[in-house]
């Protein structure tokens, strides 16, 4: 029985460790996962890792969880992805639950309020700053700049559901790249 369980326990603990140290969101843990899964345990090679990462990032859900599920599945099938998934979720689940249990008691403390008064604008800055880099790497041009602006304004001012935005942009992507661009290519004029 022990021999059968071993690969699952290994997956669980490898991702438990990763889950415990993924401060600051998914992108911070990429080097950690790479170190653990590629270099230390040799579960997959670096090329596969990069390809897997591209897929994990483009699918919905947290990147850390997607990566754990993917590697778990590759190693041990569905049960392997459960073991890795539980591993990566559990540390933050425990920590956040403890915070939820006790945070209400500190919330109205005057010192805590002063700390948060300083932190609140910083939180907004940390969300806003990556936008510049992201706009560049996504290849946003003056011609396509209207899309993020229209999205941001409609969600911010008109309370449009982000789900509607996502569904529309998937439909828009398919309509544009599958039909308009492809037709243009078939007619042989212009590249876009």
């Amino acid at each position: 029985m022990r021999i059968v369980l071993k690969p699952y326990i290994e997956l669980f603990f490898a991702f438990f460790k990763i889950g415990a140290f993924t401060f600051g969101g998914g992108y911070a843990m990429i080097p950690l996962i790479r170190n653990e899964a590629v270099f230390k345990r040799k579960w997959l090679n670096d090329t596969d890792f990069v390809e897997m990462l591209a897929v994990a990032q483009s699918m919905p859900g947290p990147v850390a969880l997607n990566t754990a599920l993917f590697i778990g599945n590759r190693r041990q099938g569905f049960k392997g992805s459960l073991a890795a998934g539980f591993g990566v979720i559990l540390p933050s689940f425990i920590i956040i639950l403890l915070i939820a249990l006790f945070f209400t008691q500190f919330k109205d403390n005057p010192l805590v309020e002063r700390i948060f008064k300083g932190i609140r604008p910083a939180v907004v800055a940390l969300i806003a700053a990556p936008l510049i880099q992201l706009g560049k790497s996504t290849g946003i041009t003056l011609k396509t700049l209207w899309i993020p602006i229209a999205v941001a304004l409609s969600v911010w001012l008109l309370n449009v559901s982000p789900i509607l935005i996502i569904v529309l942009s998937i439909a828009g992507g398919i309509a544009y790249y599958k039909f308009i661009v492809q037709n243009r290519k078939e007619r042989g004029n212009g590249t876009d």
């Binding site: 140290f21 609140r120 969300i127 806003a128 936008l131």
Partner: protein, 185 residues
């Protein structure tokens, strides 16, 4: 609302967040906020900012952390006890994790087909500019009177914004902002 109904609506809200949560943590913020603040009112927008601050300094993905925290907090705020609250955490965390579990299982089965499928690639290309807009909306929603009550807060914003562009560690920046808050207020 009865406890079972509350559990059910929390589960489905987070299932939706898991299913439509493209583009990573910050892009998921408006989605989470739309469901838990705007649609259901489980927490106030003010509290949401403070939670994002906490989630940025604790390990784990923002969507999962939101599920764990709100699962507990919505249930206990509704007047139920700690145990019911913990079960709420479990339910929300499961809700947000189930879509990725199903999707990644499918991805593993059809990996190469997905990678080279021109329909999926077209859909993903369509999503990219929208994801930037969603992140921008998260910043704009949080740029409110309560988070920016005075010039000091705009000063903190500018300093942290520039430091973040210079790739200073975000956790360090939050700690600095917290100290600045104590010193300046």
């Amino acid at each position: 609302m009865g406890l079972i109904e509350l559990y059910a609506s929390m589960f489905f809200a987070f299932l939706k967040i898991g299913l439509f949560g493209f583009g990573g943590g910050y892009a998921m913020l408006p989605l989470i906020q739309h469901e838990v603040v705007y649609r259901y009112g489980w927490i106030a927008l003010e509290e949401f900012t403070d939670l994002v601050a906490i989630f940025q300094t604790t390990p784990g993905a923002i969507a999962l952390n939101s599920a764990t925290y709100i699962g507990y907090s919505a249930v206990t705020t509704a007047g139920y006890g700690t145990l019911e609250g913990i079960l709420g955490s479990v339910i929300c965390t499961a809700g947000v994790s189930i879509p990725p579990l199903i999707i990644m299982t499918l991805v593993c089965t059809f990996f190469f087909k997905i990678k080279h499928n021109s329909w999926i690639q077209a859909a993903l290309k369509g999503l990219k500019p929208a994801i930037i807009g969603l992140i921008a909306s998260a910043a704009l929603i949080l740029m409110n009177q309560r988070n920016f009550p005075d010039y000091t807060s705009w000063g903190i914003f500018l300093v942290i914004f520039i430091a973040s562009l210079k790739k200073v560690d975000p956790i360090l920046l939050i700690l600095i902002a917290g100290v600045a808050g104590v010193l300046l207020y």
